[in-house]
Structures are given as structure tokens and as C-alpha cells.
């Protein structure tokens, strides 16, 4: 790997680890201190490595520099050794020992950090931004790119979310079983949103999308590695993300255009991720719990299986259960699509038109799709309405292609 690639790569991976370990080892007053130390560490790496070249073990190098920076911090801030020892002792931490960057400590600190960051009091969008920044080491600019918005908006979101983080005073050391259970749902929701942000991202940049998805998978994996958070719903969410990710390469073409499920090249599906998904899905069904992640993961599982007589009936019944647990326009539309697969387009049109989501692009293009075999004129009209409504260039492109196809068919009859 070239050095100019190596540093951003390492940064992404190690930044959040260093912050988590420092924050939780020293109970630093502010997260910002841990962030500053991590940033300075990387700044030094850029300088030194630029002159001397990259060391054999860059990760260990980073950890050593981070440890030294922590010591400097305490010295410069006139925290007496005694005071430091006092604080450390209260938290069951020995200052004689350096910050420990063992795998176990990294994993524990990251888990604790996930729980601090996933605060149910934050609005969903800020939550995901905060997770991206603190847990995944994304820069403000990268987050803005992922959300197709400007840096100022992201800064505002982060600012507000951080106030809650500070006020929350979430005591990591005393992370009890009950606290974990109480907060796990909001943690899973954040990971789920993070994944969806990548999977259904507004940006056409495939790299960003993939990174968001793989970060969500990484966080999910951390959660299954700890006994306290390795719950059926955690496994269900991870299974869902594995199944969805397995199709990442197949669902858009080189230009970033969406490829409909039925037109995807199955050779591009990632078998390894499908196998992982199966593994987590089996784990998810220990116990009686059926969360929305269970239902979504099982739907995604059915999508990985070859066509068979009852496939869409199963999928429809799962969507039925899902919409009964939690209404969302997306679920309602997906359910209508599955309904069409089982009962045909005409019956599905009746079902879909009841939804009356006239300001929803997906709704209009679903009706366009359903009408394409029933009434070409209406189909084109719905596609046109969808085009008029959407802001996505890619969608306009795809829908225009559909209209052209239909117009051509029409003239041939």
C-alpha cells in the first residue's frame, strides 16, 4: 500500500480505537482531549513517516506515541501525580501501568464507547453523524459527503449531539447488565441507521457507501463478541447487514445506477457474506424473540435463495408481520411489491393505491412498475410524476429509460 493511502486507512481504523481506549482508561473529562491526543498522534505520524518512512509496525508506533502524548498532557496540565493517581484509583485504574492497547482493552473500550455515543436522546441523524465521527473516524467533510449536505449542517448536528454526550455522564466503568439491556435497542438502531445510510445512500460514491456499510458491520461484530450484548436481536441485525452487503457489488453498475434485484448478476454476490449471514441468522433464532431485525434479516435471507414456489408468499408474510410491528412507508411499499409477486399486478395495484403516498417517489415509481403490464399509459404517467418529484439524477436517468422502453413497446403494438 502506498503511504498516501496507508495513512488515511490507518487513521480510519485506529483513530476511533485510540480515542475509545484513552477516554475510558483515563476517564478524561472531555472527549475532546482524547480526540486531540489522537489527532496529534496522527499528525506526528504524517511528519515522521514522511521523513523516515513508515515503521515496520505502524499500529504499535501509533499506540506508543499516543501513550507518550497522554503523559505529556497530564504533565502540561499540571495535574499532579498524586491527583492523577487519586482519580485513577477511584476508577480502578493504575497509573503505573501505561494505557493498555491490548486487543481485549480495545474491544472493551470500543464497546463502552458505542454505548456512550448511542444516546436515545439524540435525533437519529445527529446520532449517525456522531457515530461516524467518534466510532468510525470519519472527518466532518466525509460525513457531509455521505449525507450530500454541507459541512456547516454536519457541524451543527455534531455540536448538538456532543452536548448530550457530555451531559449524559454515561459511566462506562459501571456499565451494568441492566444498563446495557436498556440501551442495546438504541445502539442497534444507530448501527442499523448507519448501515442504511450506506446501503441506501444519497451519494453515488460507491467507496463511501461501502465504507459506511463495512463500518456498521464492524460495530455489529463488536457487539456479538461480548456476552452482554450478544443478544438474538444483535445477531439478527448482523445477519441482515451481511445479507444486504453480499449484494453491494451487484446492485449498482459502474455508473452508480441502481440495478433491480431481478436483473442483478448473481455471480457478483458475495458468498462469504451470505454464509456469515446464515450463521448469524441461526444464532438470532435462539430464544423466542422476534424483532424487526429478525423479520428483515429473514426477508433478506429469502432474497439470497433461488426462486421457488413459495418464496414470495414467505416474503409477503414476513412483510405483513413487519408492518404490524412498525409502520414505515418503505415497508408498506416493499410489502406491496411482494403482494404483486404473489397475487399479480392488478390486485397489487388496488392494494398499493390505498397507500396514497403521493409525495413519495418510490410510491410513484412502484405504481409505474405495476401498471407497466396493465396500462402502459398510466404507467408512463406515474413514472413522469416520479421524475418530477425526485431530486436524484440517477433516479431520473433510470426512470427515463423505463419510459423510453414503454413508449417503444407501445408504438410496436
Amino acid at each position: 500500500m502506498q503511504q498516501d493511502e496507508l495513512i488515511p486507512h490507518l487513521f480510519r481504523r485506529e483513530y476511533s480505537k485510540i480515542i475509545a481506549v484513552l477516554y475510558h482508561s483515563y476517564k478524561l473529562k472531555n472527549l475532546e482531549i482524547a480526540e486531540d491526543i489522537a489527532s496529534e498522534t496522527f499528525l506526528k505520524a504524517t511528519e515522521v513517516w514522511g521523513i523516515k518512512g513508515v515503521p515496520d509496525n505502524p499500529t504499535a508506533w501509533l499506540y506508543t506515541v499516543a501513550k507518550n502524548k497522554v503523559r505529556d498532557y497530564f504533565k502540561h496540565n499540571a495535574v499532579s501525580e498524586k491527583q492523577l493517581k487519586e482519580v485513577a484509583k477511584q476508577n480502578g485504574f493504575e497509573t503505573e501501568k501505561d494505557v493498555e492497547f491490548s486487543n481485549q482493552n480495545i474491544a472493551d473500550s470500543q464497546l463502552a464507547m458505542i454505548f456512550s455515543v448511542c444516546d436515545p436522546d439524540n435525533p437519529a441523524e445527529s446520532q449517525v453523524c456522531l457515530a461516524l465521527q467518534i466510532l468510525c473516524g470519519f472527518s466532518v467533510e466525509e460525513i457531509a459527503n455521505a449525507f450530500l449536505t454541507n459541512i456547516e449542517t454536519i457541524k451543527k448536528r455534531l455540536y448538538r449531539a456532543r452536548i448530550n454526550l457530555r451531559n449524559g455522564n454515561f459511566n462506562i466503568g459501571a456499565l451494568s447488565k441492566t444498563q446495557i439491556e436498556a440501551r442495546l435497542n438504541s445502539v442497534l438502531k444507530t448501527v442499523y441507521l448507519l448501515f442504511n445510510e450506506g446501503y441506501f445512500s444519497k451519494t453515488n460514491n460507491r467507496m463511501i457507501r461501502k465504507e459506511l456499510c463495512s463500518e456498521a458491520l464492524r460495530l455489529g461484530a463488536i457487539l456479538t463478541e461480548n456476552v452482554l450484548t450478544n443478544m438474538p436481536s444483535t445477531n439478527a441485525l448482523l445477519a441482515l447487514m451481511c445479507f444486504q452487503s453480499s449484494r453491494l457489488n451487484a446492485r449498482t453498475n459502474e455508473e452508480g445506477e441502481a440495478i433491480l434485484f431481478e436483473d442483478q448478476d448473481r455471480r457478483l454476490w458475495d458468498d462469504e457474506l451470505i454464509q456469515k449471514g446464515n450463521h448469524y441468522l441461526i444464532n438470532a433464532y435462539y430464544g423466542d424473540e422476534v424483532s424487526k431485525y429478525h423479520l428483515e434479516a429473514t426477508i433478506a435471507y429469502w432474497h439470497t435463495t433461488p426462486a421457488n414456489k413459495n418464496k414470495w408468499q414467505h416474503i409477503l408474510q414476513l412483510y405483513n408481520q413487519l408492518i404490524l410491528i412498525e409502520y414505515s412507508p418503505v415497508t408498506a411499499l416493499n410489502r406491496a411489491f411482494a403482494f404483486a409477486r404473489v397475487y399479480g399486478s392488478e390486485k397489487a395495484i388496488t392494494e398499493a393505491e390505498k397507500l396514497k403516498l403521493n409525495n413519495n417517489t418510490q410510491y410513484l415509481s412502484l405504481l409505474g412498475y405495476l401498471y407497466s403490464t396493465v396500462d402502459v399509459g398510466k404507467s408512463i404517467s406515474y413514472y413522469q410524476q416520479a421524475i418530477a418529484l425526485t431530486k436524484s439524477q440517477m433516479e431520473i436517468h433510470t426512470l427515463t429509460k423505463e419510459i423510453k422502453k414503454l413508449t417503444k413497446e407501445k408504438s410496436q403494438h
Binding site: 408492518i323 409502520y327 408498506a332 390505498k354
Partner: protein, 113 residues
């Protein structure tokens, strides 16, 4: 949005008793119908089915047993839906599987306490 109670009534004797496959098909029809209401964001509470046996307590303290299987219009279950008017609520009841078994749906607006 107002809330309406849907009460499903039918004669137990006319209810289908078929093979497991047929019963599963009927369950699917119920699920499709009730999920169709949920898909419109108009389901307040999925409600429940009722057991066929029960008791009635009268003012003189007399308790009489079911079975309600003898009654032509016994209550089989209920759901709660959201709608802006009685007409809209009635339209939601359309397609309820109970109608195809000779049963009916009673629609009553909730008069909240």
C-alpha cells in the same frame, strides 16, 4: 384521526375447518388483510381473537356459561383502526375474511373517556 372498533362476528358452525394447509391459507388471508390496513398507517391495535367459551354475569348474580358456539353471531375477535370518518372506517373493513364465511363486521366509533 378517530379510532374505531371493528368487531368480527360469525357463526362458529360456518367457520371453515379444513386441513392444516387450508387453515394456513386462511391465516394468510387474515394477515394480508390486517397488514393491508397497517400498510396504510391506519391500524391502531391489531386486537385479538376470542376463545369460543365464556361466561355471562347477570344483575341477579346468576352466572351462565357459554358456549357461544351456539349463537349465530358470536364475537370472534376485534381490532382497532384509525380513520377520519365512519365511512372511511367502514371502507377499511371491506375485504375482511370474515365476510366470506357469512360473518359480518360491526364498526363502532370509540367514544374516548
Amino acid at each position: 384521526m378517530k379510532e374505531f372498533l371493528l368487531v368480527y362476528r360469525a357463526d362458529y358452525k360456518t367457520m371453515p375447518k379444513g386441513s392444516p394447509e387450508e387453515m394456513q391459507a386462511i391465516t394468510q388471508r387474515w394477515m394480508n388483510w390486517v397488514a393491508g390496513i397497517a400498510a396504510q398507517g391506519k391500524l391502531a391495535d391489531r386486537g385479538n381473537r376470542l376463545m369460543s367459551s365464556g361466561q355471562v354475569l347477570k344483575s341477579d348474580g346468576l352466572v351462565s356459561d357459554g358456549p357461544y358456539t351456539e349463537i349465530k353471531e358470536s364475537i370472534l375477535g376485534y381490532s382497532l383502526v384509525k380513520a377520519t370518518s365512519m365511512d372511511e372506517a367502514t371502507a377499511l373493513a371491506d375485504g375482511c375474511p370474515i365476510l366470506s364465511f357469512g360473518g359480518n363486521v360491526e364498526i363502532r366509533e370509540i367514544n374516548a373517556l
